[in-house]
């Protein structure tokens, strides 16, 4: 049973691949009915499927393919011209074949689909054109029963020959030949006797099948006698083998057999995950290497470490690309179905449309290839229905009667671009606006201020439809908005260009892979966010006074455009603790036709990030697409640009006007309301300061270095009125501490008093630069220290 399943799996995979190619070939065939090479190829597909399915006992499928094979075989021998009508039937039978294959895939049987109607049509084609004797065809028409009886004994008989000894075989052949001759004789007699004897003619079911075939091509069968006794399928097998050699040895280069193995997609996914981990580790290693380099500058082992790190990083990158490539599929897999679709659509719509494909070899990640199919179908249907005009209209406009839809794929940087062009009537912006107004999608005001690109973007609005009448093909107003969401799900963007009367061009820009992306890292206050680089158009540095407020929204001028702005902090509820500074950066985000300026505090840089999900617990947070782990081991959230643009519409605030540092200043009622922090790494020094200040009765908090002081400050348990800071400290020195503290709005006015043994002028200068207000040199008297502190905290005289 397992073995059967395995064979079945192989059969299905193979069949689906064959069928996919079949569609394309058939449409091609309709254009070049004389192309023998194509015909041979198509015939072989039908034949292969038939052979395999009969072996697997899929009788219905065998029955269907058998008749397809008949038709194609006739065409192959020039007995039948492929007309569009014939093609319709063949295509119908291929659809049935696909349906059967799908049923087999899902249920392991081919029951439940009625093929008889199609088989009858196929038979009529073979019957109507050739000079086959009518009675034989009629005999074949009351179909399945006869066929099954015919096919089964064939399968049963065959292995027997293999197991026979040469002598026995010889005898068997002899016997069969005699039988055959006897039968032929009987048939000849029957012909002579006409009518009634035909019914008597089939004495044995085995011969019925071959006789039907034989009638069609008696000549080739008669000549090779050893083949003759073996039943029909074997004969068929020999023909395709001969034919390509004979017909086109030069034209079709023998398909070079590619060395491939089939790998479970799950394994590739797992591999991809592992690579993701590796990339993270690599990023981390690079960061550590940088730190080490800084600390041990000039040491010999650094060079060695550097080498190792760069090799690891190089190999990781190569490995990542290699694994990515294993998941790549040519986009041709998707494109293949379009020639057939265009053909069907053009017949349905009574238009003449040609499809031009280019760049089918362009490769894309498997998951994207799977997702991209449906959106493309929608777009192409739309192009056929709304884009390309009817032949009459086209002629009237002086265009060629046949419309052309171009579908091409190519690489552009880290993205792949799929471009769909048509030479139809183009998008009419006024019409788009009017329709949208009618349906209440936009307001009059919006319509007036719309740019051309924005108007094109209207076709992606939910509920929008340009077709005045709903057709079978499109016009229901669903579709294009789904296209947009699907493409955006892939982190892709859509770009439309159109000229009225000349045509429309749509570009889908999609990242090569989903798991690892390039991102721009930005900082806001103390947080970092990653923005997919694909959506970033540019970044600009602006000063505050370049931001204007229009109707409660912030905007800026970007060259000749007005760009609406939103502060990332307003979207992600970031607390404003740090002072924003005079300048800010604006990241210009572009999604299709819409643009938005995102104000951030800092730009960190570009980095390759691995997308990780936030898990079930936190999924679906608006504006967040996932998370990534940075080189330092921290987690950085990835911005969902699509959602962010939506959210930006609801955010109302003047981003940078906000200076809410109104830390409630509580009235001091007793000396202990004053809180002072002492930062010094020496316990003795701290004790000396403590002794000097204790008499005042103020509250004292101690920290042993800059880091600790900063975290105490951030913890916010105390409201400090002043800090006494030593300069020489481990981990973080006094200067750094002072400049860190001064970054916070809240502590702008917190007096920092340096207490140090450094007496140089330059030291004093540095102290002032970093924001110290006083500079006390050790040793000092307790009274002096106390008085300096009192002065700086405005110590109330009454407490003294």
């Amino acid at each position: 049973m397992d073995e059967f399943q395995e064979i079945l799996q192989d059969f299905l995979v193979e069949s689906f691949e064959l069928v996919e190619k079949l569609d394309e070939d058939l449409v091609e065939l309709e254009n070049n009915p004389e192309d023998l090479e194509l015909l041979n190829g198509i015939f072989r597909v039908a034949h292969t499927v038939k052979g395999a399915s009969s072996f697997l006992n899929f009788d219905v499928l065998t029955h269907l393919t058998h008749h397809m094979e008949d038709v194609l075989n006739k065409a192959r021998h020039g007995d039948l011209i492929i007309t569009p009508d014939v093609m319709d039937v063949v295509l119908e039978s291929i659809d049935l074949m696909k349906a059967l294959l799908e049923t087999i895939r899902d249920t392991s049987t081919d029951a439940g689909i009625d093929v008889s109607a199609c088989v009858v049509k196929l038979d009529k084609i073979t019957g109507g054109s050739g000079d086959v004797k009518t009675p034989v065809v009629v005999a074949a028409e009351p179909t399945p029963v006869v066929e099954e009886v015919v096919e089964t004994p064939v399968g049963d008989d065959e292995p027997d020959y293999d197991s026979m000894s040469p002598d026995d075989l010889e005898a068997e052949i002899e016997k069969l030949l005699q039988e055959r001759q006897a039968e032929d004789k009987a048939k000849r007699n029957a012909k002579l006797a006409a009518g009634e004897s035909v019914l008597a003619a089939p004495p044995e079911p085995t011969e019925e099948a071959s006789s039907a075939k034989e009638e069609q091509k008696a000549a080739p069968k008669a000549t090779p006698p050893p083949v003759a006794p073996t039943p029909a399928p074997v004969v068929e097998k020999s023909t395709p083998k001969e034919d390509p050699k004979a017909a086109a040895p030069a034209k079709r280069a023998p398909a070079t057999v590619e060395q491939t193995i089939r790998v479970d997609v799950k394994r590739l996914d797992h591999l991809m995950n592992l690579i993701g981990e590796l990339v993270l580790a690599k990023n981390r290693l690079i960061k550590i290497n940088d730190d080490v380099e800084e600390r041990y500058e000039g040491e010999e082992f650094l060079e060695e470490l550097n080498q190792v790190v760069s090799i690891v990083s190089l190999v990781t990158t190569d490995l990542q690309i290699a694994v990515m490539k294993t998941r790549m599929l040519p986009i041709g897999k998707v494109f293949n179905k379009f020639p057939r679709m265009i053909r069907d659509l053009s017949r349905e719509l009574n238009k003449k449309i040609d499809l031009e494909l280019a760049g089918e070899d362009t490769e894309l990640d498997k998951s994207i290839v799977e997702e991209i199919g449906d959106p493309l179908v929608h777009i192409i249907r739309n192009s056929c229905d709304h884009g390309v005009e009817t032949p009459e209209e086209r002629l009237a406009k002086g265009k060629d009667e046949t419309g052309i839809i171009g579908l091409k794929a190519y690489n552009e940087g880290n993205q792949i671009v799929i471009q769909i062009d048509d030479d139809g009537k183009g998008l009419d912006t006024d019409m788009l606006k009017n329709k949208s107004l009618e349906k209440g999608i936009i307001t009059e005001k919006e319509a007036d201020s719309m740019t051309e690109k924005e108007a094109f973007g209207l076709i992606f609005k939910p509920g929008f439809s340009t077709a005045s009448a709903v057709t079978n093909v499109s016009g229901r107003g669903v579709g294009m908005d789904v296209v947009k969401t699907n493409i955006e799900k892939l982190n892709g963007i859509i770009d439309i260009d159109s000229e009225l009367g000349v045509g429309t061009s749509m570009k889908l820009k999609i990242p090569l892979t989903l798991a690892i992306i390039q991102a721009l890292l930005v900082g806001v206050q103390e947080e970092y966010y990653a923005i997919p680089l694909a959506s970033v158009l540019e970044t600009v540095r602006i000063s505050r006074d370049e931001i204007y407020t229009v109707e409660g929204r912030s905007v800026m001028r970007l060259r000749d455009e007005v760009l609406s702005l939103v502060h990332i902090g307003d979207i992600f509820e970031v607390e404003r603790i740090l002072d924003a500074g005079e300048h800010a950066y604006v990241v210009v985000l572009g999604l299709g036709t819409s643009k938005l300026g995102l104000i951030v505090d800092t730009l960190v840089g570009q980095e390759e990030i691995v997308i990780k999900s936030l898990g079930d617990y936190l999924k679906g947070i608006e504006g967040i697409a996932g998370a990534t782990i940075r080189g330092d081991g921290g987690v950085t959230l990835i911005v969902d640009v699509v959602a962010l643009m939506q959210m930006a519409k609801d955010v109302k605030s003047a981003p940078m006007a906000d200076t809410s540092s109104a830390a409630a200043i509580t009235e001091k009622t007793k000396p202990s309301d004053y809180t002072i922090m002492i930062v010094d790494d020496s316990k003795t020094d701290r004790t000396i300061m403590r002794k000097a200040l204790e008499p005042m009765g103020v509250t004292l908090v101690e920290a042993s270095d800059g880091q600790e002081a900063l975290s105490i400050l951030k913890a916010g348990e105390h409201n400090f009125d002043a800090m006494l800071v030593d300069i020489e400290m481990p981990r973080m020195d006094g200067y750094t501490l002072a400049s860190e503290i001064k970054k916070y709005n809240k502590y702008k006015n917190l007096p920092l008093i340096a207490v140090t043994s450094r007496t140089g002028k330059s030291d004093r200068m540095r102290g002032v630069e970093s924001g110290m207000v006083e500079y006390i040199t050790k040793p000092y008297s307790a009274d002096y220290l106390s008085s300096v502190v009192q002065r700086n905290v405005n110590f109330k005289a009454e407490f003294l």
Binding site: L280, E527, E573, L614, L618, I621, I624, V635, L637
Partner: protein, 164 residues
């Protein structure tokens, strides 16, 4: 010699049997303190217990969800149980720990004030949640009675359930 060995082995075997027998009706829990109360969760639902480290805030979540942190390459949510239980938030101390709990595929880290100890408790000594706590909605699995105190045992699957 070999007799002795056999004896010893047999003895060990017996002991193990006894232990496994006991295991059947004994529940192993890990106790921890949040605010004033002591709680416990089954030891098997704990993936690990770690010292606090930095996490990344996530916007648009209730205040009890502090954010996400990196646990050896996995991004895991961090939930403050003080906030979840409606207590004042408190700064982390030396004793603060993250307990990473797992139930099926759901994993999350929980901030607790302090660990107490691993507790072995007989199943018989675990009573149901008080009647006042209603129905399936409770995150209380039961109440463990010990010599000198009672411990609230929490439902891990409820803790890991998204409730916003």
């Amino acid at each position: 010699m070999s007799d002795k060995l056999k004896q010893i082995i047999n003895k060990q075997g017996d002991q193990q049997n006894v232990e496994t027998d006991q295991l059947d009706d004994i529940v192993q829990l890990v106790g921890f303190v949040i605010g004033e109360e002591e709680y416990a969760i089954p030891i098997l639902s704990i993936q690990e217990i770690i010292k606090p480290f930095t996490w990344t805030r996530v916007p648009q979540v209730p205040s009890c969800v502090l954010g996400v942190f990196n646990l050896r390459g996995a991004v895991i949510p961090l939930i403050d149980l003080r906030a979840k239980f409606g207590l004042q938030t408190k700064n982390q101390s030396e004793e603060t720990r993250f307990i990473v709990m797992r139930h099926g595929d759901d994993v999350a880290g929980f901030v607790i004030d302090r660990l107490t100890m691993a507790i072995r408790i007989k199943k018989a000594d675990i009573g149901p949640a008080p009647d006042t706590v209603n129905g399936d909605d409770t995150i209380i699995e039961g109440v463990g009675k010990q010599a000198d105190k009672i411990i609230t045992i929490l439902k891990v699957n409820k803790l890991l359930e998204r409730d916003f």
